[in-house]
């Protein structure tokens, strides 16, 4: 009996300690997949950096279908993971549903938005980063026709396009911006063939720099742009290395910073809103050895000047999602 008791006691202790050990952070990658060379991969990089620095583990899942969103959230919250980090705008509705059931768990969105009290909403100022991309693209363009290719036609993607067009037109008021969306369903994120065709269509209309904000479809855009000898601008992660010397720059969303910081704070993470804008280094243009020859000193100066002005409030970049309209371009 005593033996039994101590055994049970040991088992209970182990279960408790296992529970404590399981308070690892968890990250849910969206449909694009962990290695999409784009948005999700940035999140993965942040998580890896945290794991290497602290030597701890994190839980992860790459969801494969819409139905898995709620399931994954619930499973991680049940196992005691804290915080639970989500990537992608599509997690908003599932979070509204699940987060109130687990008040002790802090959930983190990246791109999404939930009003539940235990959610930290991470909001990126893509319009500001895209504005800078527009400046560089306009300065690199010789034809003064610039292209934008979006993935699925949602307000978030229009926000990229609108900021980009504003940057272009602020630099070259006479320039023309052509915009195409790949589609209206989630397959629009994974159709490089269509991305390539859209790129060719824009090239035939004179475009010589094309900005892709389209997940896996964007890989087709960058590929075709490189094949046809024009420049492209990558998005989310640093995509300059995909076609060295052909990708002008990449508009990087520091999802890695957001994920890294959230994991660092762990259970002490406070819910609320975190704005990742230019002032907080939340968005930036990627400058590395792959595009060093493409970026001139004038471009660098122009970007630095615009960055300073945006931070100081002298330039206000219109945010498409604020009123669902764009003053400079029709979608």
């Amino acid at each position: 009996m005593t033996l039994m008791k101590s055994c049970l006691g040991a088992a209970a202790t182990m279960a408790l300690s296992a529970g404590a050990a399981l308070a690892d952070p968890a990250i849910i990658f969206d449909l694009g997949g962990k290695f999409d060379k784009s948005f999700n991969e940035a999140g993965h990089n942040g998580a890896q950096k945290w794991a290497e620095e602290t030597g701890k583990d994190y839980l992860e899942i790459e969801i494969q279908s819409e139905a898995q969103r709620e399931q994954a959230l619930r499973r991680f919250a049940e196992t005691g993971a804290n915080p639970v980090i989500t990537l992608g705008f599509a997690m908003s509705a599932p979070l509204d549903e699940i987060a109130p059931d687990y008040p002790d768990t802090t959930f983190v969105t990246n791109d999404g938005w939930s009003d539940a009290p235990n959610v930290l909403n991470t909001v990126f100022s893509e319009h500001e980063g895209s504005y800078l991309a527009g400046i560089v693209a306009a300065m690199a363009s010789e034809s003064d026709v610039l292209g934008f290719i979006g993935g699925m036609d949602i307000p978030l993607i229009r926000k990229f396009g609108c900021g980009y067009a504003q940057g272009v037109l602020a630099t070259k008021p006479e320039a023309k911006v052509i915009s195409n969306m790949t589609g209206t369903t989630p397959t629009a994120w994974n159709d490089p063939v269509k991305g390539g065709e859209l790129t060719k269509a824009q090239i035939s209309q004179g475009a010589d720099v094309i900005y892709a904000a389209a997940g896996g479809t964007g890989l087709g855009v960058l590929q075709t742009a490189a094949d046809e000898g024009i420049l492209s601008v990558g998005v989310d992660s640093n995509q300059n290395h995909l076609h060295p010397g052909k990708v002008l720059t990449s508009m990087v969303k520091r999802v890695d910073v957001s994920v890294y910081d959230a994991m660092m704070k762990g259970e002490d993470l406070e819910p609320g809103v975190r704005v990742m804008d230019l002032a907080h280094d939340g968005v930036a243009l990627a400058m590395d050895e792959h595009n060093a020859d493409l970026i001139t000193d004038e471009m660098k100066a122009a970007v630095e000047e615009a960055t300073a002005k945006i931070i100081a409030g002298e330039i206000t970049v219109h945010d498409y999602t604020s009123d669902d309209s764009c003053p400079v371009i029709d979608f």
Partner: protein, 321 residues
């Protein structure tokens, strides 16, 4: 709209129509022999993955082509075993193959390349490069016909020309050979073919093999011709559009060419113009994207002549005992 723009749109339409055409002909052979093939999409996807994966690993697009066609053939074989030998439900077998392809490509891709289901980007000899037709440069300056030849017809990858050649070839095989006559008969009245002493099973397997090769070429073209590498779910519904085109084409090879070119053209126009301003009203791009399906429904509803499917389609053949 000037002439150069029309050529560019037609050029794009031809590229976009090629995978549809190959898949549509695959469906044609299969359905003409009485086997519904919902699994076109899955075969395209499997072939796209294996062609890109093998091309990336070996550096040869031709080995990729063989691997892509082989994988599509294997899928066809499974469909054949399930629906011919074991007389299972052809629709369910096809749907199952679609799911299998969607899952297995990502699974193997992740294990093979650790890129989350993508393959590395293909370059150089790992891709099909454009082929210039003879004298394309010389006649480029001839008015009207020059651009049509050198810009529209020339400069595609070899698979585009293969696909176009498949149309008369399919027509010849189906309508001018004994094999074709028997194949069509198997789709209409397999009992009669059996009575004549010809093996229904063998004919149906032959049709599945042909469908497998054609679908394989469609997938190879997607991954190594149009794009440069595999991205998960990159077939993006083309197998289903090909099925719609097959109905639209009323199960005939030449019509299949026209139907897929029309669908390709609609997609090319949608790619080129976000919204079309017709003066009185603006045509949204979504309408253009939906048009192939709308047209198919109209044809199915019996407008513009009847669309009669092969009579024995979908029914497994059971020899009377």
């Amino acid at each position: 709209m000037d002439f150069a723009t029309i050529i560019q749109i037609a050029d794009s339409a031809l590229r976009l129509a090629t995978p549809l055409l190959l898949a549509c002909l695959a469906g044609l052979f299969s359905e003409r022999a009485g086997i519904f093939d919902i699994g076109l999409e899955g075969k395209i996807l499997a072939s796209a993955f294996f062609s890109a994966a093998v091309a990336a690993s070996t550096g040869s697009v031709w080995l990729g082509l063989i691997a892509g066609v082989a994988s599509s053939l294997a899928f066809s074989g499974v469909h054949g075993v399930a629906s011919i030998t074991f007389q299972g439900n052809q629709l369910i077998s096809g749907v199952a193959l679609n799911f299998l392809a969607s899952g297995i490509t990502i699974l193997i891709g992740t294990a093979w390349f650790s890129l989350g289901g993508r393959t590395p980007s293909l370059s150089g000899g790992q891709r099909f490069s454009p082929v210039d037709l003879p004298f394309a440069d010389a006649v480029a300056n001839v008015p009207v016909l020059g651009p049509i030849y050198s810009d529209l017809l020339s400069g595609h990858t070899i698979l585009v020309y293969v696909a176009l050649l498949m149309v008369p070839l399919s027509w010849f095989v189906l309508y001018r050979t004994r094999f074709g006559l028997r194949l069509r008969a198997v789709g209409e009245n397999p009992a009669a073919v059996d009575t004549a002493g010809v093996s229904v099973i063998r004919l149906r397997y032959a049709s599945m093999a042909i469908a497998g090769v054609l679908c394989g070429l469609a997938g190879v073209y997607l991954a190594t011709g149009l794009a440069a590498g595999f991205v998960k779910e990159m077939s993006a519904g083309r197998g289903f559009i090909a099925l719609a085109a097959l109905i639209f084409a009323r199960w005939r090879p030449w019509n299949a060419l026209y139907a897929t070119l029309l669908f390709g053209l609609l997609e090319a126009i949608a790619n080129r113009y976000q919204n079309i301003d017709l003066g009185a009203f603006v045509l949204p791009v979504q309408f253009m994207q939906a048009l192939p399906y709308i047209l198919t429904v109209i044809i199915l509803a019996g407008f513009g002549g009847t669309a009669v499917a092969p009579k024995a389609g979908g029914q497994p053949y059971v020899k009377e005992r």
